[in-house]
């Protein structure tokens, strides 16, 4: 079974600074996808960024980027120029392939201070 581990229950960052959220996973599959989702207090799950395992290039979406280390099974999220609206729970998720469900980590609560 695939497992996703987020070792940081809580993180704090000052506005305009950079923060990195950690995620590791365990799998024996060669084809899989990794995701970061954001869940604000509204409880809506919002896709932040995704990474296909076969791609060596790290994904980026504006202020959000990942550091994907396939051999180490590591998938960290970097948020640059943090904003107050970034405060939320962040979940790392794994999926084997198309048609399979997401498997989530326990989440990291991000606090952004002015």
């Amino acid at each position: 079974a695939q497992t996703v581990t987020q070792s940081q229950p809580e993180m704090s960052v000052q506005e305009a600074e950079t923060v990195t959220l950690s995620c590791t996973y365990d799998t024996s599959e060669s084809d899989y996808y990794l995701f970061w989702y954001k869940q604000p207090p509204s409880r809506q799950m919002i896709l932040v960024i995704r990474q296909e395992a076969y791609k060596q290039q790290n994904a980026t979406e504006n202020r959000f980027s990942v550091n994907f280390q396939k051999a180490a099974k590591s998938f960290s999220l970097k948020i640059s120029d943090s904003q107050l609206g970034d405060a939320a729970m962040y979940f790392c998720a794994y999926r084997r392939g198309s048609g399979y469900a997401l498997n989530f980590g326990k989440g990291t609560s991000l606090l952004v201070t002015p």
């Binding site: 996808y33 995701f35 989702y37 509204s42 409880r43 809506q44 799950m45 896709l47 995704r50 296909e52 979940f91 999926r95 198309s98 048609g99 469900a101 997401l102 498997n103 989530f104 980590g105 326990k106 989440g107």
Partner: protein
């Protein structure tokens, strides 16, 4: 992008009763899933909703407690039966849109409180 309508958004129910949650998508969908998020916890997969056939349940979840229907590609219901306070959670539907693997889209969730 797709719009997922999940209803109700919240409810307070008496123990022993049942609640049916609806999930309607306005786009073509290949896969639909139901998740539970207990207070302060992560998301746990309840089942995969299969069109026209019985849902596929994860370990720890059974059809008698969480019956699921999916009569067509874009609509599904989850019923929480014979509720107890331990069923108080957020329930979310999630879909994979046809034509892409751009992550799954989620409904806005149903916050259920059982008293």
């Amino acid at each position: 992008s797709a719009v997922i309508s999940q209803k109700p958004s919240r409810d307070i129910c008496q123990r022993g009763t049942s609640l049916t949650i609806q999930c309607q998508v306005d786009s073509q969908v290949t896969m639909m899933f139901w998740y539970r998020q207990q207070p302060g916890q992560s998301l746990t997969l309840i089942a995969t909703a299969n069109q026209g056939s019985e849902a596929t349940y994860e370990s720890g979840f059974v059809i008698d407690k969480f019956p699921i229907s999916r009569p067509n590609l874009t609509f599904s219901t989850l019923t929480v039966s014979n509720m107890s306070p331990e069923d108080s959670s957020i329930y979310l539907c999630s879909v994979e849109l046809a034509g892409g693997s751009y992550g799954y889209t989620f409904g806005s969730g149903t916050r259920l409180t059982v008293v």
